[in-house]
Structure formats: C-alpha cells, structure tokens
C-alpha cells in the first residue's frame, strides 16, 4: 500500500514522501516503517503505543488511532502532522 509521509519525517526517509509498505494492520505498518527507518516510530507513537497528540493517520480518508486497524494492499495511508500551533 502507499503510505504518505509528512515533511517533518523526511529526515528519516531520506526525503521520500511516498513509500510502499506491506502490512495487515496499523501496528504492522508502523513496525515496518521503524524497521526501514530506525527512530521514526517513536516520533509518532509514544511508549504506551498511542499516537502522539499532534499526529493523525488516515486510511482511505478515514482517521484512525487504533493500532489494530486493518489494512489492505490497495489502501492509501496518509500520516499527517496535525494542524496545530500558531
């Protein structure tokens, strides 16, 4: 599936803003991103396995926070830095 990466995380992906990942759920997707880009997961997910307050993830346009959310190969995943701050 296609995963869109927000610009604050380009340092981890080497500038790639779109990556292909095989995963069956959100937890697996984040684990795969961590395997490829060490350190990236902890910037998005805290030590209690919760998405950080200003990170949003959309699967096919639907916001999810549940790590068990299922994924299919044709899904599009957007990782978004939430609009917050001034």
């Amino acid at each position: 599936m296609k995963v869109m990466i927000p610009s604050p995380l380009y340092d981890y992906t080497g500038g790639d803003y779109e990556v292909d990942v095989d995963a069956t759920n959100l937890a697996g997707l984040l684990a795969e991103l961590e395997r490829r880009y060490p350190g990236i997961r902890f910037r998005m997910v805290n030590e209690q396995d919760a998405l950080r307050g200003h990170i949003r993830i959309f699967i096919n346009g639907v916001a999810v926070r549940d790590m068990s959310a299922e994924l299919n190969p044709q899904d599009e995943v957007f990782i978004v830095q939430a609009l917050s701050g001034g």
Binding site: G39, F42, R43, M44, V45, E47, R52, Q81
Partner: protein
C-alpha cells in the same frame, strides 16, 4: 497562593546604588562561613570559550576568541526543533548531547562526536516502560536536563524528563534506560505530585548532580517535588528539603513538594549546595543537612525569586542569581523592568547588584533555569540568555555586561564550556 515578595521600588533599586553592597537584612537566618575548597583549586582557563545555546527553535554554538571579545556563531542546528539542553562532555571536550523534540513529533536525543559537525540520533531515547493492561502508563514529553556522569564512568550520562523521570545511558547517549530506583520508587507519586504540580510547560526533573568524589552519590531537583538524594547510584532516594520554605503548600515546611528551580553543587567543595527555589535562595552545608535561606539578604524591593543560579568555578562562597518578579501573578520578568544579576562573595551574607551595561529600564527579561552559566577564566566570564532571544556576557564576573547576540529564538539553556586546545 503564591508568595508575594514585594515589588515596590525603593532606594535600593536606584541606579546610583548599583554597586552598593547590601548588608544582611536578617542575620539570624543565615550563618554561612567562608568556604575553603576541599581540593586543589584548578588553574584558570585561558583559551576559547563556547556557549552552547538551546532555544525553542534549534541550537546554536557561539565560539569566542581567547580574549572573549569576539564571537562567531554556528547554527542553527535542528532548526525548528525545541531544544531544551545541549551539553558538552567534560571528559573528552568533544562530544555533545542534545535533547530535542518538535511541536508535533516525539522527543529524542542526538549525539555529536565532533562539536556539532555531524549528529547521530539515539537508537533508544528515554522512555517509560509500557504499562500493564488496565494501568495508565507514563509518557516522556521531552528530555529537559542532561548531566554527564562521573569522571570515572566514561559514556555515562543522566537525563531528566517531563513527565518526571530519571534515565541513564552507559554508551554515550545511544541507548537510555530508566533509573528504576527513582522512577518506580514506592513514593514516586507522592513525591512528584500530579500533572497540576508542574511548571506551565509540564513537571520537570532537573538539576541532576553527580558528586565528583563518589559516582554513586547523586542529587536531583524536581519542579515540583523538591531536592532528593541517593547514595547508591539511584537505587534508593530520600528527600533533602529540611529548612526550605514551600509557601504555596499547606504545610510551609513539608518533607517534599517544594519547587527548586535550580540546584548547584560546588565542584571543589561538594558538601556545599545552593538552590534558587520558587520561594527564595538557599544554601546547604550537607554535613548539617538543612537549607539556610540566604536570599533574605537580598534587597526587599527585588526579592530572592528567580530561576537560574550559577557558581564561581573556584570559589565556593561566590555565586550569581538573576532575580525575577515573583509577585502576584508571577510576571517572571526583571523586577521593575530593570534587569540585573546579583552576586554574593560571602555565601549569601551580602549581595551586590550588577547591572552596568544592561538596559536601565523597560527591559522585561526572563532568564530560565538553565540559561545562566560561567566559564573558568580569570576573571570569570558570566553569561545569560533570555526568553526574548538575547545573550549577555560579562568578562569580569558581572562587573560589566555586553550584548553577545540578539534576535535569537526563546532561549532555554546556555552552557559555557572551555574548548580543548
């Protein structure tokens, strides 16, 4: 209710009195003796000084010439990151550790072995353990404070976080582990209070101090919580707050629950501790085990509230503070808009105002707890950074101040370090 320290201007605050020694107002409350360093006094430094400047939008390194007259800046490093602390390893004078996060991304640490030319991220930054099912787990919002370990323990560092936690690395900052003796102490919740007991930016564990005589002897400060001590490398802890006022607390002299803003140990006289507290300036001779309020001897119009405190590198009875307005709603700015440092050269029996070169009025500066530092030259250089992005320096122990930089982002920390030749 926060303490009202009095803010009305008085004759003590007039420019004409700026070099006047203020005599002890309440001799009964303080009886420190002039201290002789317990170990040989090191020779004063003479080389270049670097200021490691941490800001809300990245980090900078200012490097001086050997006269400390001219400064060159490098940076910003990690532009856009909130950098709470950048510290040089005094054991090799080359390795930097930097604690960072952004407004949106979680906290991490970076390490440089070449004074900031290249950086490597920690593979395991400070983090609390995953909570068991049904329990609420703690989360590190940011690493606030970094302290190198003992001289005999290369690669060891300590980190203090918000939420309050103490972490340790043994590999130079690559992987961090909780200090369980503190983080899982049966009294942790009581000592640290709740989220409401922290600073507006969250509760902080700070002022991590390693006794130069004994790697197992540690102190920490918590805002809030107080000062705590361990003699077994962090396996167990005890409060160390006797004599210290907590004016905001129902019990004015509780065992814990205080708000030490900045705690310092003199490296040459490690039994001498100082703290700039939420409720005053204190000093302790550890053998006596009781804090003595030496801020009572500050002019009443200025008070003894502030964030930072810095010690003379060779004289244990000499230190600087940067008072702020701690009245009513706590503006946290220079009292009456007239910034100054105050120095004592006799362990707090008297204080002298130092404002020559600083704006004489309408300067509402705030200096945070990590944002004042001293070098090791003779005379000692003293430096402070403001939340309005200014760096001020003095080449003569606060006698004259000059601007080193302005228009930087909000400054969290300034660390003056001597560079290897």
């Amino acid at each position: 209710m926060k303490p009202n320290n009095g803010s009305k201007p008085s004759k003590d605050n007039k420019p004409g009195n700026k070099t006047k020694t203020i005599k002890a107002a309440s001799p009964k409350t303080v009886s420190p003796k002039t201290v002789s360093p317990k170990t040989a006094v090191p020779k004063a430094a003479a080389g270049s000084v670097a200021l490691l400047v941490s800001t809300i939008k990245g980090a900078f390194i200012f490097k001086s010439d050997t006269t400390r007259s001219k400064w060159k800046v490098r940076g910003p490093f990690f532009l856009g990151h909130i950098v709470h602390h950048m510290v040089l390893d005094p054991r090799d004078k080359r390795t930097l550790l930097l604690a960072a996060k952004t407004g949106h991304l979680g906290p991490t640490l970076y390490r440089s072995g070449d004074m900031g030319k290249t950086w490597k991220e920690a593979s395991k930054p400070p983090a609390f353990p995953k909570a068991k099912n049904g329990e609420k787990g703690r989360v590190v919002d940011h690493t606030f404070w970094l302290t190198p370990g003992h001289a005999s323990e290369a690669g060891v560092w300590y980190g203090g976080t918000s939420t309050q936690g103490l972490f340790r690395t043994e590999d130079g900052g690559g992987t961090w582990a909780p200090v369980k003796g503190f983080n899982d102490h049966p009294n942790y919740s009581k000592w640290t209070g709740g989220e409401q007991d922290g600073t507006p930016d969250g509760p902080k564990l700070h002022s991590i101090i390693v006794d130069p005589r004994d790697a197992k002897h540690l102190y920490i400060g918590m805002s809030s919580g107080g000062v705590f001590e361990s003699t077994d490398r962090g396996a167990n802890w005890l409060p160390l707050n006797a004599g210290c006022l907590a004016e905001f607390h129902p019990d004015k002299y509780p065992e814990y629950g205080h708000d030490p803003h900045c705690v310092r140990m003199h490296p040459l006289a490690p039994d001498i501790l100082y703290q700039q507290n939420h409720c005053g300036i204190y000093r302790m001779d550890r053998k006596e085990g009781r804090w003595v309020r030496i801020g009572d001897n500050m002019p009443k119009s200025v008070g003894d509230i502030g964030f930072p405190m810095e010690l003379h590198p060779r004289k244990a009875d000499t230190c600087w503070v940067f008072p702020m307005d701690g009245t009513l709603v706590w503006p946290r700015t220079s009292p009456d808009g007239k910034p100054a440092t105050y120095i004592t050269r006799n362990s707090g029996r008297s204080w002298q105002r130092q404002d020559k070169g600083l704006p004489p009025k309408q300067a509402w500066l705030t200096v945070k707890r990590q944002a004042m530092s001293a070098d090791a030259h003779q005379p000692v250089g003293v430096y402070f950074g403001t939340t309005s992005g200014e760096i001020w320096g003095s080449r003569n122990e606060g006698g004259n101040w000059h601007s080193i930089a302005r228009n930087l982002p909000h400054i969290y920390a300034v660390e003056a370090v001597e560079l290897a030749r």
